[in-house]
């Protein structure tokens, strides 16, 4: 007999094929156990045939497997498992003992009903396919996809940071040019103010001297001839000389007061801009706050009364022009949050090694969903054209550069408080880099 019968051929292939093939009857007794199964499980067919599957392999997921086999029997249909959800049915060594990659052979299984002539399912056959290579390739692919995604996310973050940095450059350039403009204007105004001031001084002394002369003339008034006296009396009456004498002095005094105020404003402008200074220096924060209040007085005087609770503050090493910008932001925002009329309270003090400045308003407050985003660049709740959306994010990064922190506490309907903590010394590394 040199030829194989069809069923012998089938049996041979089922035994030798490089796929695990086994079958169980309704009581889970093994009725087929091919060579693949024998080799990988190290249980020969002779040892296991006729045995209960779960007796030979107690580690199998019994409840699940029983349900699966029952399902095949009841539906007389195929069932499947995939390594993606269930890595393996039998824990077999894989084909990569040297190069490795996974803990055990990855398997796809097919459960097929074995039917008799009447179409009844009398056994269930299971094939176990080794898909370790596919699984490893799949996982490597998934890992590199994840890596690509991670890099993309990082790039997005970098692009965001770049945009933010650019905004800050724009903003600080804007501020620097405003500062230069202010300083330039202040300088230009100082000249005329100087000579007007000195002229006024001279004018005041001339007026005094004129008064002395006028007094002398007044003493001699009665000795004048009648007709001349009457003419002069009429002139004196015409200009209301007594009032004029009184008013002249106060006009000169008021003008000098006015000039002093102009000088203060010019000085504030110069202090506020500090000529675009970016070096940290020792500064009195109260002076910074007062200067800023003077600059923004016009913005807030119709909305809010400003209450100052200044504590004891040491001098702080900082870039005053930048902090002025932060204070201005908080004050103007506070005033804008107030609908009719309210109060802006500025509190300062020390806490441990740090100083703090708190700006509280009695405005509308910030809703929680907005609160999360207020330090984001370009986030604004103001109408188009009113705000740049950069104020708070710039403030945030200025405070960060100073090694401090800024926190916000807001209750809708009650108001908002921004509190800034600053170290007394400017961070050394940042000041070296700047």
């Amino acid at each position: 007999m040199t030829e194989l019968s069809h069923s012998e051929l089938g049996g041979f292939i089922a035994d030798r094929v490089e796929i695990g093939v086994f079958a169980v009857d309704a009581d889970f007794k093994l009725t087929l156990w091919n060579r693949f199964m024998a080799t990988h499980s190290r249980h020969s067919a002779v040892d296991v045939l006729g045995q209960n599957l779960f007796d030979v392999f107690p580690e199998l997921p019994r409840a699940w497997l029983e349900r699966k086999v029952r399902q095949v029997q009841a539906l007389r249909n195929y069932a499947f498992t995939s390594w993606t959800q269930r890595p393996y049915l039998f824990r077999f060594d894989h084909n990569r003992p040297i190069t490795g990659g996974v803990d055990a052979m990855r398997q796809n299984c097919t459960f097929l009903p074995v039917k008799n002539a009447a179409g009844e399912v009398i056994q269930v056959c299971v094939t176990v396919q080794d898909v370790t290579d596919t699984a490893i390739a799949h996982e490597e692919l998934a890992a590199s996809m994840a890596e690509v995604e991670r890099e993309k996310a990082e790039q997005r973050k970098l692009i965001g940071e770049l945009a933010q940095a650019q905004n800050q450059v724009l903003q600080s350039e804007k501020l620097a040019s405003i500062g230069q403009l202010a300083a330039g204007v202040a300088h230009e105004i100082n000249n005329p103010i100087g000579f007007v001031n000195s002229n006024l001084g001279t004018l005041a002394s001339y007026v005094d001297e004129l008064m002395v002369v006028l007094d002398a003339y007044t003493g001699a008034h009665d000795q004048l001839p009648e007709d001349l006296k009457a003419a002069i009396d009429a002139k004196i009456k015409g200009v209301d000389l007594d009032y004029l004498r009184e008013d002249l002095v106060s006009l000169v005094t008021e003008s000098r007061d006015g000039l002093d105020r102009v000088k203060d404003i010019v000085q504030d402008l110069k202090d506020f801009s500090r000529m675009g200074e970016s070096e940290a220096a020792w500064a009195d924060l109260h002076h910074c706050l007062d200067t800023t209040l003077n600059v923004v007085a016009n913005e807030i005087k119709y909305k809010a009364e400003v209450v100052k609770h200044y504590g004891e503050l040491p001098e702080v090493e900082c870039v005053a022009s930048q902090l002025n910008q932060v204070f201005m932001n908080l004050m103007v925002n506070g005033a804008q949050a107030i609908a009719e009329r309210g109060t802006i309270t500025i509190t300062t003090g020390t806490e441990g090694e740090q100083v703090f400045v708190a700006v509280r308003d009695t405005g509308a407050g910030i809703p929680p969903d907005v609160l999360k985003r207020i330090f984001d660049p370009f986030y604004t709740t103001k109408p188009v054209g009113t705000g740049t959306g950069l104020g708070l994010s710039v403030s945030y990064s200025i405070i960060e550069r100073h090694g401090g922190r800024i926190v916000v506490d807001s209750k809708p309907g009650e108001g908002t408080e921004f509190k800034i903590w600053l170290p007394i010394r400017y961070p050394a590394a940042a000041s070296a880099a700047a």
């Binding site: 349900r67 399902q71 539906l75 249909n77 195929y78 069932a79 499947f80 993606t84």
Partner: protein, 203 residues
């Protein structure tokens, strides 16, 4: 929407055969799930590929879906798609008798398993009615939690038209429901038509 590939008689016969097949399927699914299964009368349409997504949308509604596909081959060759509303997906664990909370892999295995049961039972039932031999390939996840419209890529379908057989499943005591859609390419529609003719001739 044309069903011109079928005569009225053929369409009625197909509807009836599918219905009988589904009825048997319902009984065996009920045996596996331990719950009484309600099946809709199958609805049969011959559709151009670009009309399939809107037809799916009409069946499922606006909610997001998870879908499983399974190929079948043999005397009839095509694909079955089981579509679950996202909310129903979570009821599966309970349905299949899992008490504990499931991890994602187990949940997906369950989804594939239930889909396999439904597809096998329904298509097996139909195959039996028309005396066709049919085998199944392993089911696979098509998409999870996506819009119905993005489920099928009609650009990639090269058959000019497809037979769209829709059956809706629901369970008597639960709100669980899903939709099974059997898709046959045009050449297979002709095969099916011949099988129906043979069936009609044998009556």
């Amino acid at each position: 929407m044309s069903t011109a590939l079928f005569s009225e008689d053929q369409r009625d016969a197909l509807q009836e055969l599918t219905n009988i097949g589904m009825g048997q399927a319902g009984a065996s699914v009920a045996a596996v799930l331990g719950e009484f299964v309600m099946l809709s009368v199958p609805r049969i349409l011959v559709l151009k590929p670009n009309l399939i997504p809107p037809a799916l949308g009409r069946i499922v509604g606006p909610e997001k879906v998870t879908a499983v596909r399974q190929g079948f081959h043999g005397d009839l060759r095509g694909e079955a798609v089981v579509v679950y509303g996202v909310a129903h997906c979570r009821e599966l664990a309970d349905l299949m008798g899992y008490d504990e909370a499931l991890d994602e892999a187990t949940e997906r295995e369950l989804l594939l398993d239930v889909s396999n049961v439904l597809v096998g039972a329904c298509l097996g039932g139909l195959a039996e009615q028309i005396n066709a031999e049919m085998g199944f390939s392993a089911p696979s996840l098509m998409a999870t939690e996506v819009e119905v419209a993005s489920l099928l890529d009609v650009q990639r379908m090269d058959s000019p038209c497809a037979l769209f057989v829709e059956v809706n499943f629901s369970l008597e005591k639960r709100s669980f429901a899903c939709h099974l859609i059997m898709l046959l390419p045009e050449d297979q529609i002709l095969v099916l038509r011949d099988a129906i003719d043979r069936f009609l001739a044998s009556l």
